[in-house]
Amino acid sequence: MKRCYHVVAIPIRIVLNNFGDYNPNGMMYVLKENEHKVRELVKKHPFTPVDLVQPLVIRANEGDEVEILFENQLPFATGMNFQEADYDVQTSDGANVGVNENTLVDCGEQTLYQINAYHQGVYFFSDLGNPASSDQGSNINGLFGALFVQARGSSWTDPIKGGCIESGMYADIHHPFLPSFREYAWIFHDEMPTVDLTGNKPLDPVTNQERESTHAINYRYEPLENRKKLIDEGVVCPDCDGEEVHHDSWVFGDPASPILRGYVGDPATIRIVHGGVKETHAFHYHVHQWFDDPTNQDSEIFDAQAISPQTWYDIKPFYGLGSLQGAIGDAIVHCHLYPHFAVGMWGINRIFDTLQDGNQCYPNGVSIDALQPLPDRPRPPSPTKERPGFPNFIPGKVGCKAPRPPLGIVGGRGLTELEKNAAVRNPRPGAVFADPCAVADAPVVKEFNISVIQLPLIYNRQGWNDPKGRIFVKDEDIEDVCAGRKEPEPLIIHMTAGTCIRINFTNRLPHVADGDVFQLVTRTYEVGMHIHFVKFDVLVNDGANVGWNYDSSVLPGETIRYEYFADVELKAWFFHDHLFANYHQQHGMFGSGVVHPRFAKLLDSCSGEEVDSGTQVTATQPLIPDYRDLTLMVHDFAFLYDKDGCPLNPPKFPSSPDDPGLFGVNYKCEPLQFRLNTPECDPAYSFSSFVNGDPVTPILHCYKGDSLRIRLLQGAQEESHSFNIHGLRWKSERPDVESRFDSQQHIVISESYTFETYAKNSGDYLWTFETEEDLWNGLWGLIRAYDEEVNFLIPLPDQVAPPKRTQPLPECTGSPPAPPSVIESAAPPNAPLKRFEIVAFQIPILYSNFGERDPFGIVFALEEDMNDILKGRKDPEPLIIRANVGDEVEVHLTSFLNFNQFPYLDGIWPYPPVKEQAFYPPSVRISLHPQLIDYDVKTSSGETVGFNPDQTAGPNETVTYRWYVDTPVGTCGMWDMTDIRNHRSLGTYGAFIAEPRGTEYYDPYTLEPVNSGAQVILVNPLLPVTREFVLIMYDGARLVDKAKQLIVDPVDGILLLNEIDPDLVDTYDNGSRGFNYRTERLINRYTKRAVLKDLFSSNVHGDPSTPLLEAYKGDPITIRLLNPSERRRAHGFHIHSHYWNSDDTDLTSQVRSFSPEIVTGFTADLRIHYGAGSFYNLSGDYMYRSGNIRWDLEQGMWGIMRVYDALQAHLPPLEK
């Protein structure tokens, strides 16, 4: 079917909320039929949100051809670049890339885009005519939208009026064979330039400083700061503080941000789209869970999900709205990054239990819009006086804080008549209007007594501390913890699937939190325990204060009773306070529950006694392998002081959300600056327990061969982290054996992951949060697998008992360990052996045709290439080596590093910076750590860790590693682990590709066999001949320009920047970036020719310096994508008009045209569907790029895949 839309890009004033905050220079796509109307409405209502001012959402069905007549009324050339779609880049790319025809549209002009939709999902579209990340860019000002592609045969109607709609963020989707469902667009965007009603920059009434930048949904946001002003002025809720009522509709009425409405049980899909430019956000949706991959029913269960710029996900909540328990009420939906949440990035999913026909009102008298019941669902009952339905049975007072729930608070009130009429048959504390535990017949009840307390937390041996730590603790442990007899750690409670959980939760915090250099005085007078994953009654048991719900928190000295149901074996479920989280979550107010398989018993790993809490336990279960269970909770914004009381990385002013403080994992950190205990202060031994002792961070103790479950959560507060375990791997989707292996996971606050793995060998395995700033500041620890019995660890009951101890346990000696005497191979004796003689040496690296270079570059290279590189006959590029499944790999690595060739010989590395700078002199040792493949960590992990032997090479020394490619894991990052401060920015990384058995590799231009290189042709007797392109997405590089001046990216590369805000960038935004030691910064092109629309044009500027990927149309293509570099800002990746399975090993995984959340350790294998040129095998230039407008694209993170239709003299065709 062909669908036609006439879309206009227009300038528009965007009013973002009812307080009149607005973007005077907004831009949007709008259907032509609405253009005049929206302009007139905005003219009439300059300070009120106008419904039609919304991101354009249009719809089509799978298989449809969509024709867009695009008209530009903006004062620069624009276009519509569609992701996921098939189209001809010469006519419909909505861009001006390479040597393609320009498909941007000048002001006042029109063009016709024709795209085809061959898979369901979100076809995000945005402008590439003005890629500036500054306030004058197009994306930052709102020029984005989405085409939602439905199942073939679908139709859609207006949820309020019924009847067909042409566009709109909300629709009811119908299908002849499938259930109707509510479809909600949830388009995150960030950094939109915003002023308040008066035209000033919005201020925070607490700090009197500018408030956090705009983080919005669908052009709306509802900042705490605005609402707080009404409290401060006595307009509403005079006894309130602010944050605890931020989401309270009883106080303020409903927010301007999205309210997704439905009836309990309605099937629904939230299509979350990131239309913003910079941040990786954390989507969290109270009460509900969904599959990570909606097309794969074996995929992992999520209730919080990171999303990076220009990516999307379909959220299909299990059991429909209200989940399994049929919870009615307001379920808040928000970005969980707390500064974003506070500044307004939230909305509500409102779940009604009675029919809304347009005649009802909310308690504040505001009319409730009608809501058409879904045609295939039972019609909800009409409201009556006795049963008015949510929210009108709740005895709240408009203008005051939401009422406390009935029954829950010890000594509290009972039910009113209206509440009784609305209640379940057996109302009880925590389960009044939904009864989650009734799902099972007489489930086991597990009760916990939990309090929140304030106490000092000591983070490390150097005395870094948080004097105002706030933690969850079991009541029976309070005395021991406060007396120092028990180490404070995040509270992890354990239960089995099918358990009804009851919590008696007591607030033992002081009424008022004192002010200090980090925070102003705050009345944190109430607190709740908000839970994720488990089933509960959202009205009374959310541990929050949301919409027209009750306020389910308690005052100091009070106890509230909560009840939840763990319906199935879950991962670890996150809990935290939802009332004053911006104040005290980063002080440690987070914990987790772990739902183990039914019939599991949890034992203290030392004594063997049964336990129900602890970060490290042993689990036994009669039907599955017993396992060790370790929970790691990472957090940022940790407000720490040194032992002398000096604050560490304090903000510029108290209560600033601008990345204050440092980091912790389970309330500990082991900074590398304190681990230089060799005479030479050599960073190469920073992880060595022989030299520096064991870290204070968690060490998971196990025996060789033990099964492990690592629970990974983030407890606070705003930033992305990248978790890696060196030497272990796990299935990316735990329930799905077909999913790929991973050894890295990006995480943001509130996400939860469980990694199932096992300790194949004895030794010390390093776990890290691997981005440079995290690792530098101490986010790492060990998994220690013993080969002989120790008296502090019970053996797993179903394992063969470990042998009695014959050797004493190793101890800290203060000296580096010796290299291993024998390097055991993991490979079978007859495995084919591949040897690589690798050298590491210093050489200037030219990063672009504009003369940008790293004069101090360090590269890994094959020894046979070293001379050519040094003599300038061969360009340095990241070392990429390959071996096949079944191969044993022997690496001989030699260091030729010279101390005097480092840029900062005084041991202080200023740029790219990290928080808490300190002395850390350059190491002249080198190592090479590989991901995912098999080896013994004691000899071949490429790092000197714990009590393992030395695995690094000093100058003119050679170290040997033996690796085994036991399974086709595809892309593996490789990097140096001797000195993460002085080496990584200079290029000490590469890639190892594990290819299928029997593969041969050829140079794509000479057809000669090769054993390294980023671009090869793969020939395998059983597989198609394939072009392989390895793209190493790097960040954090330290480059200089032609004049030898340091390039301070991203600031030096920002287009159309009028003024430089000194707080514009975070530490982890710094550094230059691109692919494979190359970059193509747009500022150079703009300086040469100041025409925005030509920035990506090779006709004007020549081809970019980044790798040119060349193929003939239809050539099979695999892209190996990885990021082995260092910065914490997550990236997205996209190739125009091409798509692939999100998991290359699982043919049923979702098809999409992006890879998300790319940070240190990320790897992916992108097998492009239909080969070069996609479905139609069309020739042309296809841009590959980051999805981050701010600050990747401008800074050079883009390139071209060139697909030819005619034979080229320089590029031999693939032999079929």
């Binding site: 099972a440 017949d441 489930p443 086991v444 597990k446 699937a497 099918g498 319906d567 039914r598 019939f599």
Partner: protein
């Protein structure tokens, strides 16, 4: 006799014999405890073999993956069984599994 495509098929086929052997085996152990794994939800059954009807094993299920599906008879098609173990009295005992024990 020829089938619909005109091919001659020897009856019973090897699959018939295979099925019949399994049916007979389950019939022989009616009243004994069994653990059965299947590839679809709820994946595991533990209970007592009540009877065998045609090629269905009727199990009085004490334990499966979620409690809501327990304490009832399940009719399990023999073709769906991936793995089974019958407590014949000599090998390892199938444990009694109770929530909260």
């Amino acid at each position: 006799m020829p089938n619909n495509d005109g091919y001659y098929v020897k009856a019973p086929t090897i699959n018939d014999i295979h099925d019949q052997t399994l049916i007979k085996y389950f019939e022989d152990w009616v009243g004994r405890k069994v653990i059965i794994l299947v590839s679809s939800f709820p994946f595991v059954f533990i209970g007592v073999i009540a009877e065998v009807i045609d090629d269905f094993v009727v199990v009085d299920v004490e334990t499966t993956s979620i409690s809501q599906l327990e304490d009832r008879e399940w009719f399990i098609h023999i073709h769906d069984i991936e793995v089974f173990y019958i407590d014949e009295g000599e090998g390892p005992r199938i444990p009694d599994l109770k929530d909260g024990d």
